[in-house]
Amino acid sequence: MAPTLCAVCKTERALIKRPKNHAKLCKGCFISIFEDEVHHTITSSQLFFPGEKVAIGASGGKDSTVLASVLKTLNERHGYGLDLVLLSIDEGIKGYRDDSLETVKRNALQYDMPLKVVGYDELYGWTMDQVVETIGKKGNCTYCGVFRRQALDRGAKMLGIQHVVTGHNADDVAETVLMNLLRGDLARLSRSTSIVTGDSQSEVKRSKPLKYCYEKEIVLYAHHKKLDYFSTECIYSPEAFRGSARGLIKQLERVRPTAILDIVRSGEDMARLVPGESSSSCACKGQKAVAAVPAEDDMGGCGSTSGRTPGDEMAAMDKQLRENEAHEGLEIDIAKAVSEKTDGTEKQKGLPIRSANGASKGAPRQVLGKCKRCGYMSSQDICQACMLLEGLNKNRAQIQI
């Protein structure tokens, strides 16, 4: 077979077939287009401001390694003026995280970025190894997820940073959309599609600059740029449900590669239909409204062509503000469901029920405040992490007796 030539430069041999539009590209053109598209996502969503300190949530895996590499490249190329720092979480899983942290340490040298590592043990007094020892492998991902979410924010605060970027890619977002669809959790579906989460009230905002990047292209980018990353599976096997969603996504991609971005787009479109959630995934009520809604209209093939105008957005925002109060009850209370489980009586029926929130807790309004125990931001009196810790500490006490 005669080698296919790159569709862009028409001189080099094509090495990549892009999943989203079947374009055949050579290595050089692929790398520059990949970077240009991330730049486009960053600028059109106004993710950063000049001089901003940004922490890159770094695991040593492919996604965060590519994110660090691309952000460094773009920061220098386009003069973003960002102060980039690597922030790693040590969950305390021997034979897994200790190896990948070595990769992050090398990345810190390779990209000339400072590195901060925060451990579950110092934050919570528990490593994941100890958690699994106590509660078993089942459901440990819930603990790890809740702890990690807070750990990244706390690590950022220690560094005086208000913005954490993570390596979530299009496959991850599609997977989450699918999972929330299958769970009937539209409120969460809506939030998961947003490129920016966390609001002006919370101290740390989150964003996913690789939201529109295929996992396949992230791996190919890492391969062709010879990036140093670590790949392994967490030794505490992941949730079966997420695994099934992931398998389904990959099978769909094989048959119809555009399916992944199509699911992301469908998720975004569905998000607009969720009352009070249309743009409140970044619930920055007002001043950062533009950043809240991903401006994906002219997104080189990866955006939705919904033809929204700024006027529509303002009207939607206005409407949303009015609807916010009315739909407060739609918030899902995951901490409640989890705390029921940790009571020992595993109630399968105790899944979050929309109307159950507030009414049963005597806390009708979800207002972001501070956890009474750890002082960390929370919409509940006691934050999710403290709830889980309470259950864990009870168990530990029992074991000691």
Binding site: A14, K17, G61, D171, T232, K250
Partner: protein, 110 residues
């Protein structure tokens, strides 16, 4: 010189990465002498190579992390001399001497 009684083989290199090396004795690169033809006398292609690797190199019982229903598991990329196998005819690509075939998983986190 190839002995006429011995089946001719094709010398190639096979690489595993992205976590797949775990299934192959934690070794990233293998020099493989691939039989030039399959059982039916057809020239060796990628499909035959995958089968050959499972029979001869796989040290791990979890073969389903590499192949599903005799096809490469979705989410594993195959690069033939650094080019996406989709550009080269996928499973039907006929293997040439000194080819480098890379299997890289996108399925593993970090």
């Amino acid at each position: 010189m190839t002995n006429s009684l011995e089946a001719p083989t094709i010398p190639i290199t096979v690489d595993f990465s992205g976590g797949l090396e775990m299934l192959f004795d934690n070794q990233r690169r293998y020099a493989v002498s691939l039989p030039a033809t399959d059982a039916n006398g057809k020239p060796a292609n990628i499909s035959f190579l995958i089968d050959h690797l499972c029979r001869t190199l796989m040290k791990d019982p979890r073969a389903d992390l590499f192949v599903l229903d005799r096809h490469i598991r979705p989410g594993i990329l195959v690069l033939i001399n650094d080019a996406d196998w989709e550009l080269e005819g996928e499973e039907a690509y006929e293997i040439q001497p000194r080819d480098n075939i890379l299997f890289v998983s996108t399925l593993h986190g970090g």
